[in-house]
């Protein structure tokens, strides 16, 4: 599947989906977050225009894979709320993912430098 056969919009959507997990894990690496807080931060980032609801299936998968854990926190004003945190497995995985991202992004930056935006690559 070459990039030339994919409409730019679809490619961007796929790209964002791919790095959503990386961003989610990085956000949880710095602090424990409620699902709502995580969804809000991801949706407000200029790079993403994902619907808020798509974050929750991602969280379900990450939890199933053992990359995140959650704790129920009792609230005096209503039902307990679930707060998510990076698990030990997730922390180790994140180190590897971030390293992979840096490698890939450095390479892409190198390629882009040869083809500045606005110029016809041909």
């Amino acid at each position: 599947m070459s990039s030339s056969s994919i409409a730019p919009f679809k490619w961007v959507t796929q790209l964002k989906r791919g790095i959503l997990e990386l961003c989610c894990l990085n956000l949880l690496a710095s602090e424990r977050l409620y699902g709502y807080e995580l969804a809000k931060r991801l949706s407000e980032a200029p790079a993403f225009d994902v619907s808020l609801g798509t974050v929750y299936p991602l969280l379900s998968r990450l939890k199933k894979e053992g990359l995140v854990d959650s704790d129920l926190e009792e609230s005096p004003l209503g039902p307990a709320r679930r707060k998510y945190r990076l698990s030990e497995v997730g922390a180790a995985q994140l180190i590897a993912m971030n390293a992979e991202w840096r490698t890939i992004s450095d390479f892409i930056e190198t390629l882009i430098a040869k083809n500045p935006p606005g110029e016809d690559p041909a």
Partner: protein, 310 residues
């Protein structure tokens, strides 16, 4: 529906829209512990988003529609969930650098504790039902049945709250009260087997008995209040019933205790045998089967069935 700072009142149209959204989401998802958590997250998201609405105001249909639109359609969320399910093989490979020996393509070696041990709401309600049933069934066997079954029943309820009480508001408080009640039951047990003269019974056992009753009332008041808050969201038609029954439970508990103590006390004094007085009191306790069924067990069972039905 009662309003509180976190859950403002919905207009009827907004409430119907929200319920329809959640129903569509449940229908689109398979039944599992993961989807139960997903639905809880979505519900919590809606609650939190609506918390921006001033407490005195009512959530309008427009506001609810906006919040749900931001979430995306239930079908899209379910589709994302379905895409995520086999996504273990799509996880990015580990970098060439040495990493801890974790294979991202294999299922977690040890499932996270929060998934393995956490009970769903229906399962938590089942534990509460069974625990209280054990506690009151033991009333049929004087002395030993009362204490042993109460200890086992409260322990079952305690475990249920520990593993799934997060579903119930004030679950931690209920847990602490159940522990206190267990301690009182354990303390009461040996004392009740001693042949104590009436003055000593009054000094030692009576305060414990009163403490037991008070703890019992407070535990079930808070528990039923928590279940009423759960029903506000999951089964609104049951909310009033649950709130009414906790009031009846308090009244019946106090009246029953006074009656049992009075009858038992009078007979004990007249016969000169404190054990006879206790026996009379205990023979009245099977009435608690009926009381416990209608005020505690039946509502828990109904709420559990209602939660499963939606």
């Amino acid at each position: 529906m009662d309003a509180n700072p976190v859950s403002p009142t919905r207009s009827p149209e907004a409430a119907r829209l929200e319920q329809d959204y959640l129903d569509r989401l449940r229908s689109a998802l398979p039944s599992s512990a993961e989807t139960s958590e997903l639905i809880d997250n979505i519900r919590d998201h809606i609650q939190t988003a609506l918390a921006e609405v001033p407490a005195a105001a009512e959530v309008s249909l427009t506001k609810m529609a906006t919040v749900l639109e931001e979430l995306g359609s239930p079908e899209s969320i379910a589709a994302e969930f379905a895409d995520s399910a086999p996504a273990v093989s799509q996880t990015p490979p580990t970098a060439p650098e040495p990493a801890p020996a974790q294979n991202p393509h294999s299922p977690p070696a040890a499932a996270p504790n929060s998934v393995a041990t956490e009970l769903s709401l229906p399962e938590t309600l089942d534990r509460l039902f069974v625990g209280y049933l054990i506690a009151i069934v033991g009333l049929w066997v004087p002395f030993i049945g009362l204490y042993i079954c109460h200890m086992i029943g409260f322990a079952v309820m305690l475990k249920g709250i520990q593993r799934g009480g997060g579903h119930i508001p004030q679950g931690e408080t209920v847990k602490k009260l159940l522990i206190a009640a267990l301690c009182v039951v354990i303390a009461h047990f040996p004392l009740s087997t001693l042949s104590l003269a009436p003055p000593l019974v009054a000094i030692i056992i009576l305060p414990l008995s009163i403490g037991w009753m008070v703890l019992d009332i407070v535990v079930f008041w808070i528990l039923m209040s928590g279940l009423a808050e759960v029903s506000d969201q999951r089964a609104p038609e049951m909310s009033t019933q649950l709130r009414d029954r906790r009031i009846i439970y308090v009244i019946v508990s106090i009246v029953f205790f006074i009656l049992a103590a009075a009858i038992g006390g009078v007979i004990a004094v007249n016969s000169g045998e404190p054990k006879v007085g206790e026996l009379v009191g205990l023979l009245l306790l099977p009435i608690w089967w009926v009381v416990g069924w209608f005020l505690i067990l039946k509502p828990i069972r109904q709420l559990r069935n209602r939660v499963l039905a939606v």
